[in-house]
C-alpha cells in the first residue's frame, strides 16, 4: 500500500470556551446595566480547523503565544469538548503538557500507580512497569517525595514516562520537551522515534523551531485559531520565521 493509513482526522473543528473576565466595568457598561453582572467572555480559540494525519507522521505545531495550539491539542485528545466539527482518530490520543498536574500531594510512585490505573492498566501491569518508568524518569530517591516538591522538569519526566508506558498510537507533546534537560530530551526523542517506527502518530507543540525541524516531517502553523500553513517542515518553519522576524 502506497497510501499511508489515516490516524487522525479533524473536520471543521471549532472550540469556544467561556471565561470570567476580571475587569472594571466601563461607564458604558454601567449605563447599559451590563457592568453590574459578572462579565463572561467567549473565547473562540480554534476556528474551523480541518487536518488529516497519517501513520508515521510526526507533526510539528507552531504559532505565537495564544494562537490556539494547546487548545487544539486538548480538543484533539478529547480532553476539551469541541463546540462544532468532528474529531476522529484510530485510538484515544495521549496528551503531555507542561501544566499537567497529576496529584500534587501524592508521591511520584503513587502518581505512577494512579496514572496507570486511570489509563486502564491493571495493578499487576503497573507493578511490572514501575521499575522501567522510574528508570526513565531518573528520579531515583525523589520518587517517594510528594509531586508538588518536584521541579517542572521532574514533573514533565514523570508524566511523560507514565503516559507513554502504555505505548499510545497517537501522542501529543505540548511543550513538555522544552522544560527537560538534555538527557530527558534525548530519552524522549528516542521514545518518539520508537512510536513512529511502530506506525504511530506524534504531534509536537513547541516554540523551539530547532526541535520541530529535528523531529518533524511535517508542520502546521496556527495563528489566531486558524491554520495558516500546513506542509513540509522546512517550508512552514521558514515562512513562520520570516514573519516572526519582521516583527509584524
Amino acid at each position: 500500500m502506497a497510501v499511508p493509513n489515516i490516524t487522525v482526522q479533524l473536520n471543521q473543528v471549532n472550540v469556544t470556551y467561556r471565561v470570567y473576565e476580571d475587569r472594571r466595568p466601563r461607564l458604558r457598561d454601567r449605563l447599559t446595566g451590563g457592568g453590574s453582572r459578572p462579565a463572561f467572555r467567549s473565547i473562540h480559540a480554534v476556528k474551523d480547523v480541518s487536518l488529516t494525519a497519517y501513520e508515521k507522521d510526526v507533526v510539528g505545531v507552531i504559532g505565537r503565544n495564544g494562537s490556539g495550539k494547546s487548545t487544539l491539542m486538548k480538543a484533539l485528545a478529547g480532553l476539551l469538548p469541541v463546540s462544532s466539527g468532528d474529531v476522529f482518530a484510530t485510538a484515544q490520543p495521549t496528551l503531555l503538557g507542561v501544566s499537567a498536574v497529576l496529584r500534587p500531594n501524592l508521591s511520584g510512585r503513587r502518581n505512577i500507580i494512579l496514572g496507570g490505573l486511570a489509563l486502564g492498566l491493571t495493578r499487576a501491569q503497573i507493578d511490572a512497569k514501575t521499575p522501567e518508568i522510574i528508570a526513565f524518569t531518573g528520579l531515583n530517591d525523589f520518587i517517594d517525595l510528594p509531586m508538588r516538591t518536584y521541579s517542572s522538569g521532574m514533573r514533565a519526566r514523570l508524566h511523560f514516562a507514565v503516559a507513554t508506558a502504555v505505548e499510545p498510537d497517537i501522542l501529543i507533546v505540548d511543550e513538555a520537551l522544552s522544560v527537560g534537560d538534555e538527557e530527558f530530551k534525548r530519552k524522549s526523542q528516542e521514545r518518539i522515534e520508537g512510536m513512529r517506527s511502530k506506525a504511530g502518530t506524534v504531534f509536537i507543540v513547541s516554540h523551539s523551531l530547532s526541535t520541530i525541524t529535528q523531529l518533524c516531517n511535517r508542520a502546521i502553523w496556527l495563528d489566531k485559531g486558524v491554520v495558516v500553513a500546513d506542509g513540509d517542515t522546512e517550508t512552514v518553519v521558514n515562512d513562520y520565521r520570516t514573519l516572526a522576524n519582521q516583527g509584524r
Partner: protein
C-alpha cells in the same frame, strides 16, 4: 471539504458518549483507580501532622466529646430521650459522614481540572473515589459510634447487625447525592457556596439534635407532618442507624423509615449516575 457524518474507516469519533453498558464496564474496569486514589488522599490528608493517621480516630472522639460536654455536662439536656448522648452521637456521626462526602464530592470536577485535562478516563471515577475516601474515613467513626453506644449502657444485641443495611443504604444515598452535586457544581460553581447552608438547614430539620417523635408529639398526630419526616431521607437514614445501635429508644414508624431510606437510596443512586454521565463530555471545559 465534505462533512462526513460518520467516522471514516478504522477511525472512532473522539469525545463521543459510549452506551450506558460500555460506560459502566469502563468504570468497573478502572474501579481500582477510585480505591487507590481514595487511599492516597487519606494517606496524604494528615501526613503533615504530628499525630498522623490517629486523627481519623481522634476526630470522631473529639466531636462526640464536645457534644457530650455541651449537651450532657453543661446543659444536662435529655430532651425526652432515655440515652440522649448516644442518640446524639449516632445522629451527628452519620450526618457528618453524609455532609463531608457530598461537600467533597461536589468539588471533584472543579478541583480536579488538572487531572481531567491531563488524562482521558471516565470522570465519574473522581466523585466515586471521594465517596470511597470518606466512607473509609467513616469506619473509625463507626467504631467510635459503637463504642459510645456500649459505654453508655446500650445493649443492642443481634439488632446491631442492622448497621450493615444502614451502612449500605447510606453509601448508596450519599454516592447518588455526590454525583448530582458534582454535576451541579460543574455547571454552577455557586453550588459549592450554597451547599454548607443547605446542609446546616437539613441538619436542624432532620432531628439530629432533638427527638422528632417527642418534639413534634402533637404535630405528629397530623399525617402531613409525619409524612414529611418519613419522606426526609436524612431523618430516615439517621433513624435506621439509631434503631440498629440503640436498645433504650424505640423509634416510631420504623418500618416506614426503612422503606423511605431504601427507596431514596436506590432512586438517588440511579438518577445521580444518569445525570452525571449525561454531562461527562463537558467536564473540564474552562
Amino acid at each position: 471539504m465534505p462533512h462526513p457524518a460518520s467516522a471514516p474507516d478504522g477511525l472512532i469519533r473522539l469525545g463521543e458518549q459510549p452506551g450506558l453498558t460500555t460506560y459502566l464496564k469502563n468504570v468497573w474496569r478502572r474501579r481500582t483507580f477510585a480505591f487507590e486514589n481514595a487511599r492516597g488522599e487519606l494517606h496524604a490528608q494528615h501526613m503533615d501532622t504530628a499525630l498522623g493517621n490517629a486523627w481519623h480516630l481522634l476526630n470522631p472522639i473529639l466531636l462526640i466529646g464536645v457534644y457530650y460536654l455541651v449537651f450532657d455536662v453543661i446543659l444536662n439536656a435529655t430532651r425526652g430521650v432515655e440515652n440522649f448522648i448516644v442518640y446524639l452521637a449516632v445522629g451527628v456521626l452519620a450526618y457528618h459522614w453524609a455532609q463531608k462526602t457530598v461537600t467533597a464530592g461536589a468539588a471533584t470536577i472543579v478541583s480536579n481540572e488538572g487531572l481531567i485535562r491531563s488524562l482521558a478516563f471516565p470522570r465519574i471515577l473522581l466523585p466515586l473515589s471521594t465517596c470511597v475516601q470518606h466512607t473509609y474515613a467513616f469506619l473509625p467513626s463507626l467504631l467510635v459510634m459503637i463504642a459510645v453506644t456500649f459505654a453508655f449502657g446500650e445493649r443492642p444485641g443481634f439488632g446491631l447487625l442492622m448497621v450493615i443495611p444502614a451502612f449500605v443504604l447510606q453509601v448508596a444515598f450519599i454516592t447518588g447525592v455526590s454525583l448530582l452535586a458534582a454535576r451541579a457544581a460543574d455547571a454552577f460553581r455557586d453550588t459549592l457556596n450554597l451547599l454548607p447552608f443547605l446542609f446546616r438547614l437539613v441538619f436542624y430539620g432532620s432531628g439530629i439534635l432533638y427527638a422528632v417523635d417527642d418534639r413534634f408529639h402533637d404535630a405528629f398526630a397530623h399525617p402531613i407532618v409525619t409524612f414529611i419526616f418519613i419522606a426526609n431521607p436524612f431523618y430516615a437514614l439517621v433513624s435506621v442507624w439509631r434503631s440498629a445501635v440503640m436498645s433504650s429508644q424505640p423509634i416510631a414508624l420504623l418500618g416506614w423509615l426503612w422503606m423511605s431510606a431504601t427507596i431514596w437510596s436506590i432512586a438517588v443512586l440511579v438518577i445521580g449516575l444518569l445525570v452525571f454521565r449525561a454531562g461527562e463530555a463537558g467536564y473540564g471545559r474552562a
